[in-house]
Symmetry: D2
Subunit: 360 residues, 4 copies
Amino acid sequence: MSRIPVAVVGATGLAGQEFLVSLAGHPMLQVVKVAASSRSAGKTMAAAAKDDKGASRWFCTEPLPDEMAGLKVEDSATMTTDGVRLVFSAVEADVARELEPRCAANVPVISTASAFRYEPDVPVFLPGVNWDHVGLIDVQRKKRGWKGFITPGPNCTTVGLAMTLRPLDVAFGIERVIMTSMQALSGAGRSPGVTAMDILDNIIPYIPKEEEKVERETAKILGKLVGDAIVPAPLSVSCTCTRVNVLEGHTESVFVQLQRPVRLDDVKAVWRDFGADLAGMGLPSAPKRLIAIREDPYRPQVRLDRDEEGGMATVVGRLREDPALPNGIKYILVSHNTRMGAAKGAILVGEYLIKKGHIA
Amino acid sequence: MSRIPVAVVGATGLAGQEFLVSLAGHPMLQVVKVAASSRSAGKTMAAAAKDDKGASRWFCTEPLPDEMAGLKVEDSATMTTDGVRLVFSAVEADVARELEPRCAANVPVISTASAFRYEPDVPVFLPGVNWDHVGLIDVQRKKRGWKGFITPGPNCTTVGLAMTLRPLDVAFGIERVIMTSMQALSGAGRSPGVTAMDILDNIIPYIPKEEEKVERETAKILGKLVGDAIVPAPLSVSCTCTRVNVLEGHTESVFVQLQRPVRLDDVKAVWRDFGADLAGMGLPSAPKRLIAIREDPYRPQVRLDRDEEGGMATVVGRLREDPALPNGIKYILVSHNTRMGAAKGAILVGEYLIKKGHIA
Amino acid sequence: MSRIPVAVVGATGLAGQEFLVSLAGHPMLQVVKVAASSRSAGKTMAAAAKDDKGASRWFCTEPLPDEMAGLKVEDSATMTTDGVRLVFSAVEADVARELEPRCAANVPVISTASAFRYEPDVPVFLPGVNWDHVGLIDVQRKKRGWKGFITPGPNCTTVGLAMTLRPLDVAFGIERVIMTSMQALSGAGRSPGVTAMDILDNIIPYIPKEEEKVERETAKILGKLVGDAIVPAPLSVSCTCTRVNVLEGHTESVFVQLQRPVRLDDVKAVWRDFGADLAGMGLPSAPKRLIAIREDPYRPQVRLDRDEEGGMATVVGRLREDPALPNGIKYILVSHNTRMGAAKGAILVGEYLIKKGHIA
Amino acid sequence: MSRIPVAVVGATGLAGQEFLVSLAGHPMLQVVKVAASSRSAGKTMAAAAKDDKGASRWFCTEPLPDEMAGLKVEDSATMTTDGVRLVFSAVEADVARELEPRCAANVPVISTASAFRYEPDVPVFLPGVNWDHVGLIDVQRKKRGWKGFITPGPNCTTVGLAMTLRPLDVAFGIERVIMTSMQALSGAGRSPGVTAMDILDNIIPYIPKEEEKVERETAKILGKLVGDAIVPAPLSVSCTCTRVNVLEGHTESVFVQLQRPVRLDDVKAVWRDFGADLAGMGLPSAPKRLIAIREDPYRPQVRLDRDEEGGMATVVGRLREDPALPNGIKYILVSHNTRMGAAKGAILVGEYLIKKGHIA
């Protein structure tokens, strides 16, 4: 079977580079086009990954894949979708607002940008959680008159939260959720990202717009597609999001009020069983299990657990009964913000949509 | 007026050293005796603050005060209270269990250890919050047949939480509290404390017994003295306590369900007014205000705010309405765990009890 | 005696803010004018220290002094020296190249920028080390036809090195110097400075132009004024400069080949005696001693020692004989890069020049 | 071919665990025995890797290999060498002094401990550098009357230094070496290792005995076997060793005076060619090249480069001419202290000695 030709736009940023690394040697997808801002346009990817003085501007641990080193970077302001059947977009929200519809007129766009996440006809897929929202794709196509469509992934902080809430909601019903995040530096990007002097021996207690995003996206992702629209899940979510001096991986302290009493073993059982169907589909980027449970009371620890299943599993631990909320439980989760929480999560969505025939 | 002679036991540990530094030149109190484990006994404090090879074992930023350098360290297992009228205790809980009653038979003991915190006849004073528990002192003396008494301070993580909750409880009534802490390294002491390899680029999501302590102490401190016992406040508290790579100062993300609707400005007003009476008493260690409010959305930041008023004020910020809890608010606080949260808080309690005639 | 009115240009950057804080309540100097880029021009300093959304852009631990909060920021591109008799410049090198001569035409300019450091008629004063270069001021005035003059301070990494070498050179003669630095984050400024992701769990082994600066400046500072020019000291210096994850304070590992054999006690003696004359001049910013010696083998430690004498003393330790260099010694030093190494060092130069009549 | 049965002693410490991980599935070696202190004796390795409360005491990123989980831990004080033909020792120096000779009476012992490094009849092998010292094995056997022998690896800080010096010495001759190290936390072990409060925002400028070890070992490793003894290389080495807040990997700033002038390209050429013979021997743990050269001026960076070739290559960069030393060059190196610098280096020595018939 031949690989589907794809473009990666925003290819020189941290998220874009993660796409390239994750697509190296991919059995279903082949990067044939890369685009970035005019500063890099016209250079090869290899050249664009260095500055004028030869210093590296490549941010991933894995090197730039050989197969992409020679690709010529196109200007994202003028690029076309000629020759590709799918676009992965890793641009900033303001660039996405113009670029993504332009591409979606012709081909599907799977994005890490927030620009279209809150539009009523745009599904926000979280792998294994809300594939049933797929019907919104045709709604969007029809309404907008596009051959393609746009589907953005959730905010990286939403990912671990919605992933662990989904099986609880199905099994026990969720009333309310209170979450405090301790987020990694990589979530803020690289140019310039978080300044070292601001975070050494410190915590930054505010990430603009983050809390609203997580509160809103969680309800949308856990919601139901009814007719032409998603009805948000009837749970209330409250977040406080902070930045800590951790390289990669978000840690979240979660308190949940369920709709009925549960035993902790039953919570573990539904987490353990979650995602078995996804694992069975044979998608290259899918983890064997979506949620990994730690029994060691000192886990999950973000440095030790963020790479579980290549960063595609959410790791939970410290599950306890909550003494303050009726039918309450509390736990801590670790989720890799630039793997399942960004490029690799988007690629998994692409694999699913191809498998199901939504990307031709 | 002559200074009251005091002993500091556990003087060679981090908390004990903080007592010494904070009592240097104190107008009401004079350190005339220091005690520690047998390893240091017989040495001068100056000698005990070094190891065999001349390397420093002094952990405070401020140097060992000259006035205490020549004091001979007594063995805490055999020390007496001869010549002192007050003991500050900074020993570990298991040592405290034996030592503190022995001292309290003769003189008051103000402690940072948890050993007696949960005894029904033992008040746990938080400055400005629960002076009305002072009646428990006579209950304790009578019940135990002691000339002195024991009063431990709260766990360092309880301090900022109970401090900010108290005025809310008085003004609006509190239903439930959900708190996630990000605690400093210094809370784990120094021998050995937290290992650097465990916390670099990491978060440790568990501190043994910490959550139970905070949940229980908060209710006790906010409780009422009724007859011979404190009736815990009828609020429910749920905590998740984590350790982060921060030197000093605990950060807490707090969600509160109040008993009636409030405007955020009213919350700020009661915080701002809180502690005016304490500030007016002329106690040397009292801050001008117990709670400082930050309007900058990026504050409080622990490195920038922990030293507010010499570490004696709790700094709050990011006050918002809570979308998930009825009558809910949420905020972030920073509180200095080794100042108001330990030695300096204990000294302030001492100053108050002297002023009120409970220490002769 | 009335205070001399001064301007601070580059007042909104990290170095400029350090000037403001260090000049608050200064007995000889009064800030009456501040200037910065056009972005801040027209605002009060208080307003310029915040961004559009009320978030702080004030980087010092100490707050913006009240006496400067109401000063209106002038545009450094168009500011004049009207009303001031001295300018402290904390702008970047490229801005300095145009601005500093413009100011120096009228009044003295003391700068932290490197723009003029290597001009033959420009003295680079290091307090207590090379006051004898003061004769260059008149050379410069005459040659350039200015009423004022420019004198930049050394690079922050040169400061501790030249300070500890000077008394060695006078007493024993220096043949060669080999130095490896481990430099603090604050040396890279704040906009954006070092990115946190680049330095966590890491060392950056290169700081552009830094090594050449230190090698060249050290020879100039230790050189002699002969006629109209400084003859660089005939020693050779080789540096490797690295960046480490430390907030403030540079650590330097120094190896020195002297011209004749020495005993380590003699080295300590000349360090201990160094700067007594400076301390006796009554200058407000002068430390009691320029070099502090630590005997504890684990010192100097940058976090514990950088604030020695308000950051105005260089702290040395680990003095040993060197087994590889003839007449060799080796030691480690810590020097505060934004105190003696920048604003406070420049202010001390100003105090000296006033005292000696070079600033009217 | 059947695998040689080996024992790992000190198996529960950080270095011992690295041995286990590195020997999992090894084609030539099979761990059949593990030993540790009496505290762990009698437990399975799986049980010994947890504390009483189920918290992990396993420190490697890679999990305890399944094939070793069921091995029963023997008491290292009483263990025998029955059933093994080689012992890897990862105990502390004081334990090694008694245990290693006891084992070497029967079988070869390859160690990471320093106890026997400085004995005249003990070779200290650095892979690819000094295989010619192998003749010392028979000297040792004869002199001590052992069936086996002891060969310790170098101190982890010596490894990268001696590795990069060796080809320089062969090609150009070395006169003197001056080195400043910035060493990782893992070099200090785990129980307790470096305390987090001591190293956050800090550098510790002293590691007891480290400098003397590196100075002495470098000369021994680069020395020549003449008759029954190694004649140390006639170069002088001076080190200053510091600890920085880096998880793994030592960074070293090196200044070298050569015996004759060189061009930098010639230095690179000899580094590039070094170790080709080792790579050709087919040893499982050998890297493809012993030294990797970086041209990016911002490299090597310890977090990005320590894992080069699985931590078995030394990465060098910033090669420059030295302005202070005659025929001088300077460079920076990164070397993985717990891979080539400890367990994996020791295993590679074992592979070599087996291949050459010294271990039967």
